[in-house]
Symmetry: C2
Subunit: 472 residues, 2 copies
């Protein structure tokens, strides 16, 4: 392989073709479940270099694994164990190329860290609303490659809906410039959305033009206890009607999930914890273009109406930003609290919002029957129909034995229930290499045939992130 | 061809394979510019019949032209002149299959007329926001096949953004059921958006699951005179900041376009017509989730701020629904007024909003230099960067001679300017057969290569609406 590495070193500079030392940061996945072995880590400085690297790899028949912040949860951005794949790391390409305030757009390179994009928009007096836990490390290229979700989807959509255009290097090393920043453009097939969510298997996203929004005048957070999931769905309906697009967040959390936060992070005071009328809590966020006073009045009228309608048993509205941040911190601490409590089996599923109460009742009962003492950590973006439906080992016992003994059966039970209710087994985390078999099992055979035809058409050599999404 | 027609008659019933009589409604395009000749018009009753018809046509190697309301503006839904293509008319498939109020979705068959979908949503107390001039005749299948735009794109997006899932019959006659109604689903490539906007060249959309919204409590309309296009852009920025998602419409109209309405439809009273400070007018729509009073206060504060900032020279807010409807009627009467005035060359273009003032100044000047006395009818959805930039013949003279002499040069000049400013030559009308050559000229060669590869991969026989979008 030396001739290829020499060529790559000539293209991007020897310092940016890394083969020695500890490559762990590029070779190991975010959750440290898998470690691969790279032929080299290649770090191009610009789109022309990406194109040249892809051309060289295509000529050599060498596979390319595009990588941004390497924070994915489906093991899609690390090389396999063969030592024959190069990691194409986009982190040097981190420029914000331009902001067009009148057009409400920002154009940035793929390696920009999400938080830096948010900051660039903020500095221009505008808002880039994509927001998720890994925002300090993940890159916009990875966000688009996986069609990331996060906490603002209810109002602003997934990463897909926030993107007006892409620059992409194809598997042949050609560069497609689709960065015109237009809101309407019906000139042929929608290539943009084909690359978004394709996890680097059809080409390499090198830059994107993104939608910006005006900053809201006020952002308010409330916390409501609801007597059952059915009432959480009813509260969502009321909130959408009364707050319309002002409703930017609607997160649901089960009492057991919150009890773990209370137990493991006692410094966070969880409202209504352990109260009889609070089997579920909802965090609501209301962004207002007018004033904090108007936002507060809107929230109070909504919660009063919900109380009158029996959807809400108790509620508080944060008095200030510190209180609001603490409420969000409770929500965001659930994964850590759950990890501290011991092993669990995670699921990132989506359902029609109307099906969620019946799905949870049905699946909880099946799991409790099949594994006595099992504990259900259930929380998620109810406004998007997206649940993080996680199954925690019974208290006590051997954690590793639990996973060994039960993980495959739990996955099978949960995913079968998801399929029965017409849901998705991967709402916002994608397929990567971890869920290729699930895609084959649960995706429609006609859809799989179409996807394979597209992959074959665009990447006949099979060099772009092979084995991810579709089996190589 | 008789064996095929016999097979089709057996599949859908002899009454629904039409070969005799006047087929004009199916063979002629909406603007009556082209008439083709169909082998037959086939009218399936359901998705299974569509699949069977496609299988029979694939076996016979017969091309299929899918057709909904046949209201397209790019001659994409009529057969060519050969008499060998069948028209697959979806208008019998017009059922609203279901409405899921808690999930805010509606599932309907492709042949549903848009207005009937709006009515079904309204009857359920909800809103389906897609709205365009042809809504009494066009079908949702056609709206999705062409990714239709319309007057509510600023707030709700194009048809694409309003669709959560599709049911599609592939060129092999397989049925893909993607109607799960999920807001998040990252399980492989985005087939939905590939079929949306592909104008029936990759498969036949037979049903769709669409997003619904709560109905607003109030809808208010205002009309503002602005001293120049730059101020219209500034007013848009102010309106987006102050009204946020409440701003559902922002239409700009040049004085000459409005003068034609004043001249041809004297019963419509056009505000500020002929006034010196009103070279451009803007129609704004504000939908409010709270109350009409709140909407009015928001509008008045916005217009006062815009007046103070020098963006607006005069403005009125409609006092009631009748006044609001009349303001919209003025906007919607421009195409008819223009047709009555004589021949003109139409363009449906998109640009970055920030570029529009410079584009218009540049292109107006070029046209006026090249055709003395030419008149520019300029109006459009400024909030989406979409202009209907139409070139009207000089007053007097021979209308047909004008088109003969100037149409090709006008198109070339306008599209070259659009390309120079990084815009799109087809914002919301698509490609059809009318703009295939423009796609070849103005679309990026890399994008065209990708599109051709996708077409070849999904429809290797080339039987789906051949010659539309891409040359056969």
């Amino acid at each position: 392989m030396t001739p290829l590495l020499d060529t790559l070193a000539a293209l991007v500079g020897p310092a940016h073709v890394i083969t020695d030392g500890d490559l762990c940061a590029w070779e190991q996945d975010w959750r440290r479940r898998v470690r691969g072995k790279a032929l080299a880590v290649v770090r191009p400085a610009n789109t022309q270099q990406v194109a040249a690297v892809v051309q060289a790899c295509a000529a050599a028949g060498t596979a390319i694994v595009p990588q941004g912040g390497n924070t994915g949860l489906a093991v899609g951005s690390i090389p396999d164990a063969s030592g024959t794949q190069i990691v194409l790391a986009l982190t040097r390409m981190n420029a914000v190329r331009s902001i067009d305030a009148d057009n409400l757009t920002l154009t940035a390179e793929a390696g920009c860290i999400l938080h830096n994009l948010q900051a660039a928009a903020h500095d221009a007096g505008l808002l880039f609303p994509l927001s998720l836990a890994a925002q300090g490390s993940c890159t916009i290229g990875g966000n688009l490659g996986t069609n990331a979700g996060g906490t603002q989807v209810l109002r602003y959509g997934n990463a897909r809906e926030l993107c007006l255009g892409l620059e992409v290097v194809t598997p042949q090393g050609q560069c497609w410039d689709g960065l015109r920043g237009l809101r309407k453009d019906n000139t042929g097939y929608d290539l943009r959305d084909l690359f978004i969510g394709s996890e680097g298997t059809l080409g390499i996203i090198t830059a994107a033009t993104l939608r910006l929004y005006p900053q809201p005048a006020a952002r308010l957070t409330a916390w409501a206890a609801v007597p059952a999931l059915e009432q959480a769905v009813a509260l969502l309906g009321l909130a959408r009607q009364r707050l319309a697009a002002g409703l930017t967040g609607f997160e649901v959390m089960g009492q057991f999930a919150l009890s773990l936060v209370g137990k493991r992070m006692p410094q966070l005071r969880v409202p209504f914890l352990g109260e009889r009328n609070a089997p579920w809590c909802v965090l609501l966020e209301n962004c207002d273009s007018e004033s904090e006073e108007h936002a507060r009045a809107g929230f109070e009228a909504l919660l009063q109406a919900a109380f009158d309608a029996g959807c809400v048993s108790n509620a508080v509205v944060a008095e200030n930003l510190a209180q609001a941040n603490q409420l969000w911190q409770i929500r965001e601490s659930i994964p850590l609290a759950q990890a501290e409590e011991g092993p669990n089996v995670k699921h990132d599923i989506a359902l029609r919002i109307s099906c969620i109460p019946a799905f949870v009742a049905h699946t909880d009962a099946l799991l409790q029957r099949s594994i006595p003492g099992v504990r259900l950590v259930n929380f998620g973006h109810l406004g998007d129909g997206n649940l993080h439906y996680n199954v925690q080992a019974p208290a006590g016992g051997d954690p590793q034995a639990f996973l060994r003994e039960h993980e495959p059966a739990i996955n099978q039970l949960v995913y079968a229930a998801v399929a029965e209710f017409g849901g998705s087994f991967s709402a916002e985390h994608g397929i990567g290499s971890l869920k290729v078999d699930k895609l084959e099992r649960y995706q429609s055979p006609v859809a799989l045939t179409l996807m394979r035809a597209i992959k074959q058409a665009l990447d006949p050599q099979g060099i772009m992130n092979p084995g991810r999404v579709l089996r190589a």
